[in-house]
Amino acid sequence: MQKIMVCIKRVVDYNVRIRVKPDGSGVLLDGVKMSVNPFDEIALEEALRIKERGTNIEVVAVSIGVADTQQQLRTALAMGADRAILVQTDAAVEPLTAAQTFLAIAKKETPDLIFLGKQAIDDDANQTGQMLAAIWDRPQATYASKVEISGSKVSVTREVDAGLETIEVDLPAVVTVDLRLNEPRYVKLPDIMKAKKKPLDVTSLDALGVSAGALLKTVKTEPPAQRQKGILVKDVAELVEVLKKKGLI
């Protein structure tokens, strides 16, 4: 194990309650707090723990996005990544394009492991890791809740609908992480200062030979249907009565 690549997405912060634009053209993003996608933070944390247990393992954080995505990569560097690469673009990047971009980087960097969050909390697509593994022609282990490396293999326990499943894959491989894999560390001020001196390279989709063409056209964005506000009952007896009347119990 020499190198781990971690893919990071800049997204609207987890705590922001997003609003849909009245004209249906998207969601309001002006002045909204942006952060590292929380699942990607868990992915980075796992890479850092592997680095800290081993010797001479380099962790490279990679992102695709607008110039300001440097902020999220600086956060990754402050957490402990050794260096960062930003593929700068103003285009909306779909999962397949993201996978092609990460593949282009992976071909240059030749990492042993690529970690990503299982999904980004903006488009909730849950595709990029699987697509990257497919076009890289390497194994995928999605929804990881436990990652154990032994030599050239990695054993991954996955969170699946029925419970937990364990698979073993050969390196190099793509691992996407779920919530319970770890708790990401807090960034301390000295680390933020140190991160400013770490290398952050900027490249472009063009330089990597990837085109950002929109494969899916977003025609409209709308708020979800609202549920009607219900009634409050005063006690259990009334609750049971209401439910019986509705034929629910």
Partner: protein, 313 residues
């Protein structure tokens, strides 16, 4: 004519109900013809179940020993080969489908529509983003194959009564050896399955301990309900991960959802908004769960739940 291939989910014995929900979704595609693909070691029993779903034209069995466990790395190239004859390839938005379908899409070199929740035309669909807070309508290029996962909570299961033809398909696709199944630890439960249950009782952090969850299990057993949990309760170790309901857990659509001691974080509400009736029991009358609940009761769950159990029996 649109030819739709649905990737059936099964455990070798039983077809997952998500498959019949995908059929309902696929039936909304105009001028469509539906085929279910079943990959497994021996899909004889599940093929008969799939063929009996109303609206299914045919079932394709792809049996080989390597297909015993659903590994995306092995399934995807086989589906890539099968997809040649179809315009649409659908899979359920379960952990099985979410793992597999993007790999299929990427091998085909096409994008994927995730969590398809409504069909507008053969190439125009609605799907949720931002934890269900923004619904987008997306349009795909009809010149390309359309790969999608179907948000199963958005569709009722197609009825039985079909008489689809069952064919066996042998594919000469080389499978990778880089991915191996090791084992599974299923949550052992005799209770109804969370994703298909008509009734669900769910607990939050206010339960306070794994021990206290027994209160919910006891009540749930009385009314034949499945038991779920909020992310906070799972994170606190009160309940196992497979019980988690919400954006990153299970998206469910029971007839009745009883939320006990759940405040109603937005990520949780995403998972339950398709429930017909939501009941909230919480001591905090300001809890966001009451904004979406059809019936709310403010009070101490430790008194309410046992009393509820007594009164319904």
């Amino acid at each position: 004519m649109h030819k739709i291939l649905i990737v059936g989910e099964h455990d070798g014995k039983t077809l997952n109900p998500a498959t019949a929900k995908c059929v309902t979704c696929a039936s909304a595609i105009p001028d469509g013809e539906i085929t279910i693909a079943l990959l497994g070691a021996d899909t004889g029993a599940v093929a008969a179940q799939a063929a009996a779903i109303a609206g299914v034209k045919s079932v394709l069995r792809v049996d080989r020993p390597e297909n015993e466990h659903p590994l995306a790395a092995a399934f995807a190239p086989q589906l890539e080969a099968l997809a040649a004859d179809y315009t649409h390839v659908f899979g359920p938005s379960t952990s099985f489908g979410k793992d597999l379908m993007p790999r299929v899409a990427a091998l085909l070199g096409v994008p994927q529509v995730s969590d398809l929740m409504a069909v507008e035309t053969a190439y125009r669909f609605k799907r949720p983003t931002y934890a269900g807070n923004a619904i987008v309508t997306v349009e795909a290029d009809p010149a390309r194959k359309l790969v999608a996962t179907v948000r199963v909570a958005s569709f009722e299961a197609a009825r039985a009564g079909g008489t689809g033809a069952i064919d066996t398909k042998t594919l000469s696709v080389a499978l990778p050896s880089h991915t191996r199944y090791v084992g599974a630890k299923a949550g052992s439960t005799d209770r109804p399955d969370l994703q298909t249950a008509k009734r669900v009782v769910s607990g939050g952090r206010a339960l306070g301990s794994a021990e206290n969850f027994k209160l919910l299990f006891s009540f749930a057993d009385k009314i034949g309900a499945a038991v779920g949990a909020s992310r906070a309760a799972v994170d606190a170790g009160y309940a196992p991960n497979e019980m988690q309901v919400g954006q990153t857990g299970k998206i469910i659509s029971p007839d009745i959802y009883i939320a006990v001691g759940i405040s109603g974080a937005i990520q949780h509400l995403t998972g339950i908004k398709d429930a017909r009736t939501i009941v909230a029991i919480n001591k905090d009358s300001e809890a966001p769960i009451f904004e979406v609940a059809d019936v709310g009761l403010v009070g101490d769950l430790f008194q309410i739940v046992p009393e509820l159990e007594r009164l319904v029996s």
